[in-house]
C-alpha cells in the first residue's frame, strides 16, 4: 500500500460561492499501476460527494475527460504513474473553457451544439440499393483516424480558439467529424457542407496551435483534418 495525494477541484453551486481545491490522501495498493479513474473511485468511496462522469472505464465512451495535472485526458486510461509522476501528486480539474456544473462535471452544451452544426450524419438522397452501398477498401481507409472520435471534448476544450469563440468556432472535434463526412465516398453533400463552413470563424479560427493533437486520447489528428477541409474549400472556392 502507498499514499497518493490528490487535489480535486470542488464546486457545488448549492453550497459554495466559489470553487476551491480539496486535498485528499488515498491509499492505493502497489501491485498494479492504477488509472486516475481508479483513484477517483477510491476517493469517492471515502467522500461520495465528489462528482465526475464515468461509464466504460476503458477509454471508448468519452465520459471522463478532465484536466489531469494540467493536461486534458481520460481518467480511465491515464495511468497514475504517468499523470502523477515521481512526486505522487494528482491535481484534477474540470475540462477548461466550459461552465462547471459541479466539481469535475462541465456543461458540454456548447461542445455538442458545435458538433450538431456540421450535420453529423451521412447525406445521400439516392435511393439505397438492396444491399449495402459499395465502398472500396481504399475509400474506406480515408475514414480511419476520423470515425474513431469518442466526443470526449479533450481536444476542443484545450483549444484557445474555442475558448475565445465557443459559439462560432466549431472546434477540433466537430471539424474532425465534419471531415469524416466530407471524406466519405458515400456522402453526396460535399458542396453544401463546404458552403456552410466558409465563414471567418467555423474553420478559419483554427490557428494551428495543435493542442488538440497533443491531448487526443485516441491519438487522432484534428489539425490535419482541418487542413484538409481548408484545402477542399480552396479547391471549391477558387
Amino acid at each position: 500500500m502507498s499514499q497518493i495525494s490528490i487535489s480535486i477541484y470542488r464546486y457545488n453551486p448549492e453550497q459554495d460561492s466559489k470553487p476551491r481545491m480539496q486535498s485528499l490522501e488515498v491509499e492505493v495498493s502497489g501491485d498494479r499501476d492504477l488509472m486516475v479513474l481508479d483513484v477517483l473511485e477510491l476517493a469517492k468511496a471515502k467522500d461520495p460527494s465528489i462528482t465526475y462522469r464515468r461509464s466504460c472505464r476503458e477509454g471508448v465512451c468519452g465520459s471522463d475527460g478532465m484536466n489531469i495535472n494540467g493536461v486534458n485526458g481520460l481518467a480511465c486510461i491515464t495511468p497514475l504513474s504517468k499523470a502523477a509522476g515521481p512526486a505522487r501528486k494528482l491535481v484534477l480539474r474540470p475540462l477548461p473553457g466550459l461552465p462547471v456544473i459541479r466539481d469535475l462535471v462541465v456543461d458540454l452544451s456548447q461542445f455538442y451544439e458545435q458538433f450538431e452544426k456540421i450535420k453529423p450524419w451521412l447525406i445521400n438522397d439516392e435511393p439505397p440499393p438492396a444491399i449495402e452501398r459499395l465502398q472500396s477498401p481504399e475509400e474506406r481507409e480515408k475514414l480511419d483516424g476520423l470515425y474513431e472520435c469518442i466526443l470526449c471534448a479533450c481536444c476542443t476544450t484545450s483549444c484557445p480558439s474555442f475558448w475565445w469563440n465557443p459559439d462560432k468556432f466549431i472546434g477540433p472535434a466537430g471539424l474532425l467529424q465534419s471531415y469524416r463526412f466530407l471524406a466519405d465516398s458515400r456522402d453526396e453533400a460535399t458542396a453544401e457542407r463546404l458552403a456552410e463552413l466558409d465563414d471567418p470563424f467555423s474553420v478559419f479560427r483554427c490557428r494551428g496551435i495543435m493542442n488538440c493533437v497533443s491531448v487526443c486520447p485516441k491519438g487522432l489528428n484534428p489539425t490535419r483534418a482541418i487542413g484538409k477541409i481548408r484545402n477542399m474549400l480552396v479547391e471549391q472556392g477558387t
Binding site: S49, T51, V60, W121, R133
Partner: protein, 590 residues
C-alpha cells in the same frame, strides 16, 4: 409527493444504447414525438464497447451463406432454450437491418470488391454445422459497437428525436389496471423530478454485469430496467444465464474481442499448449463462449494456469503479424498496452473468463411487448410496456449467446419494437391514465433515500454484493454453495434497503444515482441467485457441479422468476419457427 412536472410524448425510450436508439429512430422517422431518456449522453452507452462485430448472413465473405445456417448456429449456441420463432425472425431480418445501418453511414470495414468485411466468430458454421467454420460477423475494424452507436445517434439527430440526456429513470408508473403509463425520472443536472408519460414505454436499459466483481461491463450497467420491472411485480426470464466471456484482461476486466480468435489467435496454458484442441477438437478456440470459458477455468484449476498465481491463461496473437493486428485489431493493441502492459505484436495477453452478458431479462415477444403471466398461467402483454436489447429476453440467446449476436439483437428487436409501436400508435393507442398515488408509488424509493438519516453508504455495500455474486454464482456452481450465497444476499438486503444518502444536494448528485442503482443491482442479483439455484441441470452458461448433465426432460424450459413469491417457474420454449423446420435438441459439441 407533489410538485413534480408532467411531460408527455407519444413514446419514450429508456436507455440510449443500440436498442433504444434503433427503436427511437423508427418512431422519429414516422413523425411520432419520441424521447430517449438516457442516464448518460447516448454515445457513452455500453454498446460503444462492443468490438468484434455484428453477425448476420449478408453473404459477403461467402456468397452461398444462408440465414438458416446462422439460425442453426444460434439455436445450437443457445443450448436449445432460445425461442425459435424469435431466432428465425432475427436471422431473417438481420441482413436488411445491417444494410440500413450501412446506408445510415456506419463505416464498416470492406472487402476488395467493396462489400462489408465479415470475420469468423465462435460457434459459426456453414451448412447446419456440416460445412466447417463460417465467417459471418460484419465488422468495423474492432470498433463495431462504437461505429454502430455513433451512426444511430447521428441518425436520430437527423430525424429530430428528443434526447433527455443525463436523466435517470427511477421507476415505472403502473396504474390500477396493471398498465404502464409512464416513468418517474430525475434530471441529474438539476435534480428536478418529473413524471414522463407516454403511450409506449420501451425499456432499453442494457445489462447488469456490475452485479459481479469482475466484469467487462461499463460502470453504468446496473440492470435498471429489469429491476424496475421486478419492483412493479413483472417476472424476469432466464436470469441464471450469465455469459462469462473467455477473454477479459486479467486484473482489469477489460474485454478482448473474440475477433482475435476469429482472426487466428488462440489460447495457451502455462506449458504453451493450445489446450482448446483437447476440449473442442473441431472448432477449437472458436467453440461456444461457455465451452471456452469452462475449459479455461479447468486449465487453471488443474494447475496449468499462467503467472505467479497460476490464475489465468494467455491469448496468443503475435503470430498474426504486425500488419494484420494493426489493420484488423487496432483497438485491442491499444487496450492491451494500456491495461495489460503487453504489446500483442510481441507477447501474449493474460486473460480470464469475465462476466460479460446477461442472456436473461424482461420476457418479450418478437414485437418487443413485455410479457407477464395472468392468473390462468398464460402469457399476456403488459399494456404500454416494451423492452429490447440486453434488458429484454426475447429470447434469441437462450442459455448462451454467440459472439456478434448481441449487436444484431439490439438493432433487429429495437427496430421491431419501433415498428410495432408505430402500428399501435397509428391505430390510436393512447397513454394510459395514472392516478397521483400511482406516481407517488414510483417515487417512494427516491423519497426514502432523500429522507434517510442513517445507514451504510453505497460503495461498501456494492462491493459486498459483487463479491458474493462472484464467489457463489460464477462459472461453476453448486447447489449448496449457491444456497449459502442466497443466505448472504438475504442478510445484505435490509442493509441495502436502509442505505444512507449523506449528500442530499440537487445538482448533479451522482451519489444519489449510485444509491438508486445499487437497489437495482441487488434486485437483479437476487433474481439471478434464485433462478440459478432453482435450475438443477447444466445448460449453456449455467454449469453445475452437482448436476453436470443437461436435463431436457425437466428443463427444456425458460425459467421465469416471480419477484413477489421470490420463486421460479417454467415457461415453454418456442419450437415453432414460421418458415423453416424446427431444430430439434441434440447433444451440443464443437
Amino acid at each position: 409527493m407533489s410538485g413534480f412536472r408532467q411531460i408527455s410524448f407519444d413514446a419514450i425510450i429508456v436507455g440510449g444504447g443500440g436498442a433504444g436508439m434503433r427503436a427511437a429512430l423508427q418512431l422519429s422517422q414516422s413523425g411520432f414525438r419520441t424521447a430517449v431518456l438516457s442516464k448518460v449522453f447516448p454515445t457513452r452507452s455500453h454498446t460503444v464497447s462492443a468490438q468484434g462485430g455484428i453477425t448476420c448472413a449478408i453473404a459477403s465473405a461467402d456468397p452461398e451463406d444462408d440465414w438458416r445456417w446462422h439460425m442453426y448456429d444460434t439455436v445450437k449456441g443457445s443450448d436449445y432454450i432460445g425461442d425459435q420463432d424469435a431466432i428465425e425472425y432475427m436471422c431473417m431480418e438481420g441482413p436488411q437491418t445491417v444494410y440500413e445501418l450501412e446506408h445510415m453511414g456506419l463505416p464498416f470495414s470492406r472487402t476488395a470488391n467493396g462489400r462489408i468485411y465479415q470475420r469468423p466468430f465462435g460457434g459459426q458454421s456453414k451448412n447446419f454445422g456440416k460445412g466447417g467454420q463460417a465467417a459471418r460477423t460484419c465488422a468495423a475494424a474492432d470498433r463495431t459497437g462504437h461505429a454502430l452507436l455513433h451512426a444511430l445517434y447521428q441518425g436520430n439527430l437527423k430525424n429530430d428525436t428528443v434526447f433527455l440526456n443525463e436523466w435517470y429513470v427511477i421507476d415505472l408508473v403502473v396504474n390500477r389496471d396493471g398498465a404502464v403509463s409512464g416513468v418517474t425520472a430525475i434530471n441529474i443536472e438539476d435534480g428536478e423530478v418529473c413524471f414522463v408519460a407516454a403511450a409506449a414505454i420501451v425499456l432499453a436499459t442494457g445489462g447488469a454485469g456490475r452485479i459481479y466483481a469482475s466484469t467487462t461491463n461499463a460502470l453504468i450497467n446496473t440492470g435498471d430496467g429489469v429491476a424496475m420491472c421486478l419492483r412493479a411485480g413483472f417476472p424476469a426470464q432466464d436470469m441464471e444465464m450469465w455469459q462469462f466471456h473467455p477473454t477479459g484482461i486479467h486484473g482489469a476486466g477489460t474485454l478482448v474481442t473474440e475477433g482475435c480468435r476469429g482472426e487466428g489467435g488462440y489460447l495457451i496454458n502455462r506449458d504453451g499448449e493450445r489446450f482448446m484442441e483437447r476440449y473442442a477438437p473441431n472448432a477449437k478456440d472458436l467453440a461456444g463462449r461457455d465451452v471456452v470459458a469452462r475449459a479455461m477455468v479447468l486449465e487453471v484449476l488443474e494447475g496449468r494456469g499462467c503467472g505467479e498465481q497460476g490464475d489465468h491463461v494467455m491469448l496468443k496473437l503475435d503470430h498474426l503479424g504486425a500488419d494484420v493486428l494493426n489493420s484488423k485489431l487496432p483497438g485491442i493493441l491499444e487496450l492491451s498496452r494500456t491495461f495489460a502492459h503487453v504489446d500483442p505484436i510481441r507477447e501474449p495477453i493474460p486473460v480470464v473468463p469475465t462476466c460479460h452478458y446477461m442472456m436473461g431479462g424482461i420476457p418479450t415477444n418478437i414485437h418487443g411487448q413485455a410479457l407477464t403471466r395472468n392468473e390462468a398461467g398464460e402469457d399476456v402483454a403488459v399494456p404500454g410496456l416494451f423492452a429490447a436489447g440486453e434488458a429484454a429476453c426475447v429470447s434469441v440467446h437462450g442459455a448462451n449467446r454467440l459472439g456478434g449476436n448481441s449487436l444484431l439483437d439490439l438493432v433487429v428487436f429495437g427496430r421491431a419494437a419501433g415498428k410495432h409501436i408505430d402500428e399501435l400508435l397509428r391505430q390510436g393507442m393512447q397513454a394510459r391514465q395514472a392516478a397521483s398515488e400511482d406516481v407517488d408509488r414510483a417515487l417512494s424509493r427516491l423519497r426514502r433515500l432523500d429522507t434517510s438519516s442513517e445507514g451504510e453508504n453505497t460503495a461498501a455495500l456494492r462491493e459486498e454484493l459483487q463479491s458474493i455474486m462472484q464467489l457463489h454464482f460464477g462459472v461453476f456452481r453448486t447447489g449448496e454453495f449457491m444456497r449459502e450465497g442466497i443466505a448472504k444476499l438475504e442478510a445484505l438486503k435490509p442493509r441495502i434497503e436502509n442505505s444512507h444518502l449523506a449528500d442530499k444536494s440537487a445538482t448533479f448528485n451522482t451519489a444519489r444515482i449510485e444509491a438508486l442503482e445499487l437497489e437495482n443491482l441487488f434486485a437483479v442479483a437476487e433474481a439471478t441467485a434464485i433462478a440459478a439455484e432453482g435450475r438443477d441441470e447444466s445448460r449453456g452458461a449455467h454449469a453445475r457441479d452437482d448436476f453436470r448433465e443437461r436435463d431436457d426432460d425437466n428443463w427444456l424450459f425458460h425459467s421465469l422468476y416471480f419477484p413477489e413469491k421470490r420463486k421460479i417457474g417454467k415457461r415453454v420454449v418456442n419450437f415453432r419457427p414460421n418458415v423453416v423446420d424446427t431444430f430439434q435438441p441434440k447433444a451440443r459439441t464443437y
